[in-house]
Symmetry: none
Subunit: 205 residues, 4 copies
DNA sequence: AATGAATGAGCCTTCATTCAT
DNA sequence: AATGAATGAAGGCTCATTCAT
């Protein structure tokens, strides 16, 4: 069984790890607040408090930071998705598994974000989709496409179906986050029921 | 009853109208080709052929142009939606009406765009959602929310439901546009069936 | 016979011509004072007093400015060289013609430069070879290579000879400029005599 | 009589000497490949493999490195020039001696450079004049000026003459290096003959 | 009202140099 | 003494916006 060993780091290594993390955190924040396209490298750097040039010791561009965030999101999401998917033997349980994993992750991430923000900040800023969430989202999409290819939801246009599932999941999850307190289970149930019933309806035609 | 009167315009006014329209057209194009966030005022102006300064005689910023495009989209979409909605007496027909109006509009807009592009251009550029489409989209959303408020789809969480409808419509419409030739009716049927069956399923709980 | 006609220019055109010229002048100065490689676009702009961005309305890079200066130098030098060369029928007169043209031009340019500088400035700064002078120099080189190819200085390694002529001309011209007052004729005579006698010596071997 | 004593060095001192030398070698290379003006301290350090900060334990700037290279060049060149000059009793033998020393040194340096380069590298890069070569060059100039001051080449403008000698030597040497294989003796003879005959011609006036 | 050059803020990136380890 | 990350000053370049013509 794999075991994580934390080697003691020298001060230098510590700072490096911290800075790298600080950049990722700052990037996540500004991406979310200003929208990926509108963010400049300087926006990220400003948020970290580091010097302008320091950024380039860690990443060469905004794109690289986004890639790192994506990878991070995918890495953290993968085990959740995997666990949920493990017991799924039929289309229905599978869909529930995938959607539930997504909603759980989204909820969890949002909680982390809320925790670091003041009440003011929480209400002021619109949240934009970060590279991380896009990556996670993409995983779900792939997973659904995969399952459809394997024969789930027979008789339904697979391309449209995947799109529809994605659409429902994304939009309902977004609404969920706006509620206080929010109820992950209820939202998941809603989305899953809607999708499964929808598919049944499509197969009846 | 309101009546539109077309007053004859002097030359000056004519040019003004033409320029205003030229800016909107150019903006629509570049928004669609480069994505709203990446577009600069200069991009719009370049496409126009007008002088840089002239832009500011009509709009004060990219945002204002976007607003104008949104208004334009809404204005053109409104009658379609209204007509479709006129005969709808129950929830089901209503949903079909709204979704169909949306798909028709999307398809029509896309056709216009295709018509002005060479084969090369059509394949090269990814299309991005323009302010217009967002406005249209928003109209549909409002319309659905409205209908739910009036008692459609009883027993279902109205907020989530509107979100889910929107999600399905948007994603399926996007996929539709990627097919050649595309079949508006099939896509509409898919989305409508999915939504209606989904709602039924939700009500059964 | 060609005739230069000066069309009256609007104020805008006037300013444009002036700015373009101001950039060239500034560039010539800083190239000469700091050396081409060390000059930045901002150095040029600073010297003009224009805004940073304005530079790019006229040239896209330092290189383009250098090219313009080169072209200008060549354009002004060509008639001088041509005139001097017109009567040359043998190698000896030809060499004298080319060298004299070069020394005249160099002296003339230097005078212009001196005229615009205070006594202080004249002594402080080392002068570096500007793109203009390089272009002029290059013309002379080509001209000599050309003449050797046509049979001048028979029996002598043409490649080395051209190099040697160039070397003598450049170095002697530079020394000439350091004297006050300087004597173009004496310097020209020196260089020419050295070259011609040198060639004779080489042919005797 | 001064005597060089080689003291045994401790490990520390050894490394120091090695690093200092490594920096000089790296600098020589990049100066030659990229041109002195275009080289940054980072370029030198990169070539070295040392850490950025280490550079400043040895030199405080690119200029200091250049000075060290100059000194090194002069130091290596001095004995050659001295030896050649020892037997020279008249102006003619002296000139030959000085020029020959220069051409020999240049050829030798170039050989060393070629030896450490692959065929590719040899052809790709233009070679630029390094601080070393400038120093060596300067030595030759001083030497000639010196000799003229002592009465060589009577009746000729000493300033112009030194310049002319320098011009011939530099340009012909550069051409020589471009030939494969190159013939140092032929090039030297060319330059020497040209100079001596030239001087004779000047004295006849 | 149209024009398009001028402006200067601001972005990305590199670099010389410092300094804690 | 060596290391290499941090710093902040420039430099190249683009852009929104203004304003004289």
């Amino acid at each position: 069984m794999p075991q994580v060993v934390y080697l003691p780091l020298g001060k230098r290594e510590q700072t490096k790890v911290q800075n790298r993390q600080a950049i990722l955190n700052a990037a996540r924040e500004v991406f979310s607040e200003m929208g990926y396209d509108n963010v400049t490298v300087r926006d990220i750097v400003r948020r970290t408090g580091l010097a302008a040039g320091t950024f380039y010791n860690y990443y060469n561009s905004k794109e690289e930071v986004a890639a790192a965030l994506s990878a991070d999101g995918a890495r953290r999401f993968a085990p959740i998705l995997k666990a949920q998917r493990a017991q799924a033997t039929d289309w229905e349980t599978f869909v529930r598994a995938a959607i539930a994993a997504y909603f759980d992750f989204v909820a969890h991430e949002h909680q982390s974000w809320l925790a670091t923000r003041s009440a003011d900040e929480r209400s002021i800023h619109a949240r934009n989709e970060t590279p991380e969430m896009q990556a996670v989202f993409s995983e779900v999409r792939d997973c659904i496409v995969d399952e459809i290819a394997r024969g789930g939801a027979r008789g339904v246009d697979p391309d449209f179906l995947a799109a529809a599932c994605i659409g429902v999941a994304r939009e309902v999850a977004n609404r969920m986050l706006l509620r206080r307190p929010y109820n992950t289970k209820a939202a998941t149930d809603f989305a899953v029921t809607m999708i499964l019933s929808g598919v049944n309806g499509l197969q009846d035609i």
